[in-house]
Amino acid sequence: MKIIKSLLVGASLALVASITQAASSGNTLASVDPEADRLAMQSFFQKRFPQVPLDDYVNGIYSLDAGSREQWEEIEEFPPYEFDIEEGEILFNTAFANGKSYAGCFANAGIGIRQNFPRWDESQGKIVTLELAINQCREANGEKKLGWKKGKIAQISAYMAYTSRDNVFDVQIPNDEAKAAYLDGKQSFYTRRGQLNMSCANCHIAGANILIRADLPGPTLGHVTHFPVFRSKWGELGTLQRRYGGCQKNVRGVPQKTQGEKFRNLEFFQTYMSNGLVVNGPGARK
């Protein structure tokens, strides 16, 4: 009897751990296993929402919440980001003052490559997101950097995502330095912040699809696939890291630096978790 009881306690503790963490490997460079983390994350969500096919997570909260999905599908029929894709294409193809253009800075002339970002850049020794690569391309060609969160950079990113739709995310961790960046991003994801003391995992793993007043946090699996997004609340297009800052403010914390090391590593971790899902950006959100 006693044995059964403690077994039960053990089982329920294990359940709690899996609910809040959903990552199976460790938190040191030696013990962390990104591929095990990714598979654990997938199986966590598939166990919790058995009716939702894995591929559908690219639709964020709408993969889980049938109520808002219909409305969203109507919005996607006349996508609010259509203009931004067109603008992005024009910007992408407009030559810099020196006669060169974005195409010269990217593999495959920048077409159909969204799924490889963020990537570990060996020569810089750091994670490079697509937006960082866009601004580095500008600076290398004698142009000024664009603002990070919205406007032109989001439009260019939207166009580049659009040319990559249906390509499968395939973020690589080629060496221990990249693994350390992954680990740092993983730590950020699970660390509580702000006066309200909440982690990304609190809301986007344990709290996914459970109401916080009128807001429904979506699953972290598939979070990155549809960015940049046109968000009704913003009334415009915004980048993934703009959203990171918003979530950090919501927990009454000081947001970390857009495109700083912390956010780049966080994006690297989140994107690795979504490896295997397809690019479907840009997207529309409430």
């Binding site: 809040t20 006066q195 309200l196 003391n197 909440m198 609190n202 109401l211 916080i212 007043r213």
Partner: protein, 118 residues
Amino acid sequence: MRKSIIKHALLGLVLVGASTMTLASADQIAKGKALYLNKKAGNCIACHMIPDPDAKLPGNQGPPLVAMKARFPDPKVLRAQIWDPTVKNPTTIMPPFGKHWILSEDDIDAIVAYLYQY
């Protein structure tokens, strides 16, 4: 002898009941309610349903706050849950309202008084 012990115990219970009742003035309960509903204060309604007709469209991250007196006969336990829920459950999403200076001691007492109405 036995009878009188029981009598005393009962009297004690009544007194405890009476003391929580008298401690909570109408003002304090109203203050607790305002804090419960205010997005910039407790914002408990973001996560908890409570059967107060004014508490509309609650979230449901946490359990409904009902039958509070029966479930939390000791106000200290209720207060501790609001002060720092991570003591009981390290992975909880509920913020540590006292420990992180989100609410003052008086605020938390007022919310406790309000919760005991339900």
